[in-house]
Subunit: 339 residues, 2 copies
DNA sequence: GGCTGGCACTCGCACGGACCGAGTGCCAAT
DNA sequence: ATTGGCACTCGGTCCGTGCGAGTGCCAGCC
């Protein structure tokens, strides 16, 4: 029916207007600003249906309509076209990200860039260790029995871990240890590192066995766990721009500091490289009930390294933000592939 | 005169009451809550004098008095006793910081701890590189002409830097380079590293000279600059707790993300180890006009490594926060000395 | 049957006046 | 110098009112 089609146009118009003005939008304003070819009265009928179906709602009786989470969902899924970035924006991304000197710098720039492009809070996950491979291991003796183990991955990430050994070790022991570890682990995917530990310990000369076991264990522990817990957040000042009530941003700020919660959201990315949008209640976290998360995985080639995205109010420019997130992720993926 | 003495008592009482209630404090309430031994009328006279001297002010005619920056300053300098931490708090600090596995972890815990103890925004500067010494240098080849240089300091900090070489290098070259760099720089204070570069380049075999020069230059650059620009921030959610107007926290959040500004404040610490308090306008940064910064240097022994502190509204519990900042700094100093 | 113009109705909100009470400054008394 | 008394100021709150945006419904029209 032609009616359904027009109702969707009405919904799209409501979302667009509400996003840009932040005012509940009424039938008259809609008829004026969009040429839907029908009168306000007709639009009212459509709106009544849309409301009954749960796509829009009115904050109070004598106000206009506001999209619900469900309404935004339909908009994102079926009503919005990908908004390509302008040439200037592409240029800005390139200019901004080139010239980074190391991984930390790349990600730092990424998060600032994303925050600026979208005017939202930006979040970038450090490349997940378990999907990278070992480039090099370094062992440094701090004191007699304390060793610092440094792991360098092929994504340019550097992890460190202090290991307390049961006994004092000599300088030669350290050199041996370094050689053995590198022989065993270099080139291995971190995810497989755990399974190699028994081998390494077995082939070690007896007097080093305890040492190798301790260090390997610490290494595996480092790889598996904190690899997940590093997150860069930027643009929190953008939160203060939209909110009227400071109490409402507190839970959000807390969630962002908590990291765990956000990390879960960001790291659950689609393997196909599609941009994922979670709207309001879909997040299933109390603190994020009024917020939407737009995220995507980044990586080089077919290897996913991590996720990045933005967090903002459900009332956001989805097409624009999705485009920005996707573009930045692509560029970061290329950049990391090149290093 | 006895008057002066009592007037100071009145000021102290005003600060204390205002900090705990957030309401402008009037003469009657003051007389009730503190036994100053005089009547409200007398207190009013004292308040009039204090106001004339610029220590307090009234937001509007029929309201109580509020301390000015100058009033807080006097309070901090002359009217407040250091408030020792409770045994439980000391215990909590210990429990919280022990068990950290690396530098990043130590500082991460520190910032969370400080934010929790003070209910303010906490800030911790990474140990300044130039005051540390080189423990070890590692060179890893990423591609034919790209090298990753990793620097490990005796404070447990790990710095990395990617260097693009003018020409391809061989595996042997990398090994030579590593040996030479370590021979030259290990044990050197980073601040002195720059002056050693010419020596190193001179003693290098001719075919490696360009390479050594490039890497050394990158190294020195890494040491001098980004050593200053790393900052950990935590507890921003505490900001939302106090503010009524979200517009007022925006500049603060921006300043915190900017890092540079806050870093300046935090790193300008007293060499004697005293806690530094900057109140409101004393900060000389627009965004921090309504905020106070409590900071102190931390370090092991006589070596200052960096600064840490808190940022909060001028209306804060100075004695408590100063005590917390000092205690945490001491403990972190000890912890880093031990590693 | 669907669209449209008209119309009565509902509310949220902004505005303005009245009231209240906390707090002050001054003054005369001690 | 301190104190009790007192008139005064003024911000905050509480209502009552009017306004306007927006709606739902209905009868008429294409």
């Amino acid at each position: 029916m032609a009616h359904d089609e027009r109702r969707l146009q009405v919904l799209r118009a409501i979302v667009q207007d509400f996003v840009s003005t932040n005012d509940p939008v009424g039938s008259k304003a809609l008829a004026e600003r969009h040429d839907l070819g029908v009168s306000p009265a007709t639009i009212r009928n459509d709106m009544a249906v849309l409301e009954e179906q749960g796509y829009i709602t009115q904050p109070h009786t004598s106000a206009g309509r506001v999209p619900t989470d469900k309404g935004y969902r339909l908009f994102v899924d079926r009503l919005s076209a990908v908004k390509p970035l302008s040439a200037a924006e592409r240029k800005a991304i390139e200019r901004f990200l080139d010239g980074a000197v190391d991984l930390h710098d790349v990600l730092g720039r990424t998060v600032r860039l994303l925050a600026q492009l979208t005017s939202q809070v930006a979040v970038v996950q450090y490349p997940t260790l378990s999907r990278s491979a070992v480039r090099h291991l370094e062992v440094v003796q701090l004191t007699g029995s304390r060793l610092l183990v440094v792991l360098i991955t092929d994504t340019g990430r550097v992890e460190q871990r202090i290991v307390d050994c049961p006994v004092d070790v000599t300088r030669d022991d350290v050199a041996d240890l370094r050689a053995m570890l590198n022989a065993a682990f270099t080139g291995a995917k971190l995810a497989d590192a755990g399974s190699k530990v028994p081998d390494v310990v077995d082939t070690a000369p007896p007097h080093l066995r305890a040492l190798v076991a301790a260090v390997s264990a610490a290494l595996v522990e480092t790889l598996v766990e904190p690899g997940e817990d590093r997150l860069l957040v930027g643009g929190t000042a953008n939160l203060a721009r939209v909110a009227v009530d400071p109490g409402s941003l507190r839970p959000l700020l807390e969630a962002l500091e908590e990291q765990v919660v956000v990390l879960k959201l960001i790291s659950e990315v689609d393997s196909g490289g599609a941009v994922l949008v979670r709207i309001g209640e879909e997040n299933a976290y109390e603190a994020l009930a009024g917020a939407s998360v737009v995220s995507v995985g980044y990586g080089s080639g077919d290897r996913a390294l991590g996720g990045l995205g933005i967090v903002g109010p459900t009332r956001m420019d989805y097409p624009g933000n999705m485009a920005a997130v996707r573009a930045v992720a692509r560029y970061v993926g290329q950049l990391l592939a090149g290093s």
